[in-house]
Amino acid sequence: MMIDLVIFLPAIAAIALLCIPRDAQRALRGVALIGALATFVLSLGFITGGFGNEFDQRIPWISGTWTAAYHVHVGGLSVYFVLLTTLVSVAAIWGAFSYSDAGKLRGFLALLLLFETTLLGLFTAADLLLFYVYWDLMLIPVFLLLVGYSGSAEARSAAWSYLLYNGAGGLVLLLGVVGVVLHTGTFEVLGQTYSFGTLENWLFAAFALAFLIKTPSFPFHAWMPPTYTNSPPPLVAMVSGVQSKAGLFGFLVFALPLFPVAAHTWAPVLLVLAVASIVYGAFAALGQRDMKTLVAFSSLSHLGLVVLALFAFDLTSVPGSIVMIVSHGLISAALFLLLGFVEERTGSREIGAFGGLAAHAPRLQALMLVAAMAALGLPGLSGFAGEFLILIGAWQTQPVYTAISLIAIVVASAYVLKMFQAAMHGPESVPGGRTYGDLRAREIWILAPLIAGIFLFGIWPGVLLPGGGSLTGATPAHTVALHGQRPHA
């Protein structure tokens, strides 16, 4: 029950919002924030053990020529994704309070909360059909937020590239999912091993394509820059901070354990795509003038590193990828929210259009500094922990690709510093000479948990490694993926 409550509490809050009059702004904000906070607090139960053993729940759902169950599960791996979701959602929903169009605030908050439910559902799904349900359902709140609540024609057209790219990935995944069930007879495939024969390569390809589009990875990233750039900050914080992890979660929990042999067959292709994402993302970020687009491309680069880690099949790099996933979620959510605060103050996010904010906004500068340094991988912050584990791990098995990826780490310093300096340092200038203030208390509180997480996981990444750094706590299926063969073969 508790697990259902965590998943559906945001949706319940969203429905509650729709029962409140549109102009009762205080009530709307209160309900939305309480919903998100309560979800976060409840989800902490998964690590403190507050739920006893109620981490698994199964209700039969469909039975016929094949069966499916409403089976939700929070395990050693998914707990990180769940906590990342609930934490980032609190920041995003709180951040949405400054949303400009008061008449649309209700819909905006409700859709963000529904988005959170679809993400939580995805990360807790232990049934392939249920996973797919949330995978596709996720498109709807994002599409609606882009179309109806972003306030620009660019966002409305970006919605199409978001929908059609991710929809295409979803439909290919559907072919793969149905292909799987024709062999297994059930959608509850976790923890089982199956022999798909020659079909395995095709099925893995279908899964991988969908996951790479969602992450996204080069060359399937065309939807990302317009979507990230034109989304309101709370939305992009959730899309980049959490939704981009859905594909990586899919690899870790479904694709690698189900298709261990095909994963190794396809690994060379995926490694090339990963390195291409890492390098291309870094250089593309360097060339951007729009700060949001810059951070978007840096996401491409950083998540490419995760794909590299997964398909290097190394005992250090794979756990490192989990650290990187959480770390990137915190950093990109913080950065996009910060850029939102900057844009509120300056009316611009163009590099060179404004500068010297440090003079009047020291707190903004300080928080931006932490997020930026974490993004470029400063030791002591979470970005470094993830990158370091991935690189030393991947070096063992894929030295060439790892060496090429190192270029991106250097470039990352260049683009992050370029953005930071343009915004904060130099002579103070703001378009139209508008006046602005430093971060307000609310804005600091929004960012505080994210920044705290960046510090925490930078200093003590072991808290994120399954089994505290060793692989003893990793799921059996996961180990299968690492060794590339079936245990009973």
């Binding site: 729709l18 039969p60 759902w61 469909i62 039975s63 016929g64 020529t65 094949w66 008449g103 649309k104 819909g107 059909l129 797919y132 349900v133 949330y134 596709d136 359902l137 498109l139 709807i140 599409f143 609606l144 179309v147 109806g148 409305r156 919605a159 199409w160 929908l163 059609l164 929809g167 295409a168 439909l171 290919v172 559907l174 072919l175 149905v178 292909g179 069930v181 024709l182």
Partner: protein, 472 residues
Amino acid sequence: MIQSVAIDWNVIAPVVVLVATGLLVLVVDLLSRSAPRQLLYGIGIVGSLAAFAAMLPLRGQELTTFGGAFASDSFSWPFDVLLLLTLTISLALSCLGKAEDGANPGAYAALLIFCTIGGLILAGATTLIGIFLGLEELSLALYVLAGTGYPRRSSQEAALKYVLLGSLASGFLIFGMALLYGSAGSISLAAMSHAAYAGGPLFIGGFALFLVGVAFKLALAPFHLWTPDVYEGSPLAVTAFMAVAVKAAMFAVLARFAYVVFGHDASALVPLWILAILSMIVGNVGAIRQTNLKRLLAFSGIAQAGYLVLALAGVGRGGVATLVFYLAAYAFMNLGAFAVIALIGNGDELHADLSAYRGLAFRRPMVAALMMLFFLSLAGIPATAGFIGKVLLLGQAMGAGPWGVAMAVALIVGTLVSFYVYFQVIWQMFAPADAEAVASDGNAAVSWVAVAAGAVGVLLLGIVPQLLLAHL
């Protein structure tokens, strides 16, 4: 010597109830010219529900009458329910203030009811005569209904195009049936399976022409050309009926034909698979440019007919259950969408235009959310009936050899194209509201009932599909 044929009245009770209802409507209309049309449609709705009650005891039984020419069995029962549901909703939508009925409500209601009787006959027919009679009863009434918006030129055109192309299709059907009769020596479908087994030019030619006729009525590409115009021109409630009832009845025929005649070997059905693939492409691509929702749903219907064929792929186990499930999903989402169109414009034709939906999400959020639900279901987004239906269809097709896989891929590609189509409507609803928005303030209770029926069906089948699947 003429044998007397015993008639089992229980088997044809639903048909008898509907015939009586149709006649009653005509008589009431005749006796009291001033009777409000809502009364006539109300009688129709009551009759339709009574026919449904008459069907309840038939569930799960395998009965035949008229010497085996008419059956009430697991094939026909679910299709009959869908037909009666469609009749009820169409009659309800006809009650709306601005609904068109040719200023002759008695004839209009009776024709809708007779149409449904044709559908019931089609679903239960086990011989070529039954198929022909049911089809013609359905079609002849629909030709007239298409023209009941007749002061409107597009309605006149719809009637003329429909009657010309529909009769042409019947010509193919009759010639094909004659050849099938010649190949089998009998008009019963059961006898035809031997002819199918033996093959031969008579059977193949006959089946090909029969298939052309059926494809015409089902609006499978490339025999779909009449569909957009007829859907656009017909009055709204008639279009809704046409979209659902004709498909349900024709798929009942096609399924029975496939399972009885080709049960042993589906390889002769390859032309049908090709038609399905063409329909999925033509329907979805054709829908892209449409700005009239009735036309859009016509193209969508062409594509959905193609999807439905996947249920028959390989004539496999579970095929009929899949077909019925997707047809039920199709019925709920289409009737729901038509009901929303009728709701906001109080039954007028103006609100079939896409521009009427601009900014609707901010003016009438509840209505927009329901419209969105139906279009998401058409697109096959999870938590709706359309999604579970597509999973079932894909499962059926992908296990049925190379042609099945080809159809599955066509469904996936078609669905992607259809995202652009269906989300276009949602995109419009979330457009910034402009001052010149068409007033959309219809709020009639009867249309809310129809919308709610569609929404409940779409959500229930999407979230707890076992409710229906357990009974198929």
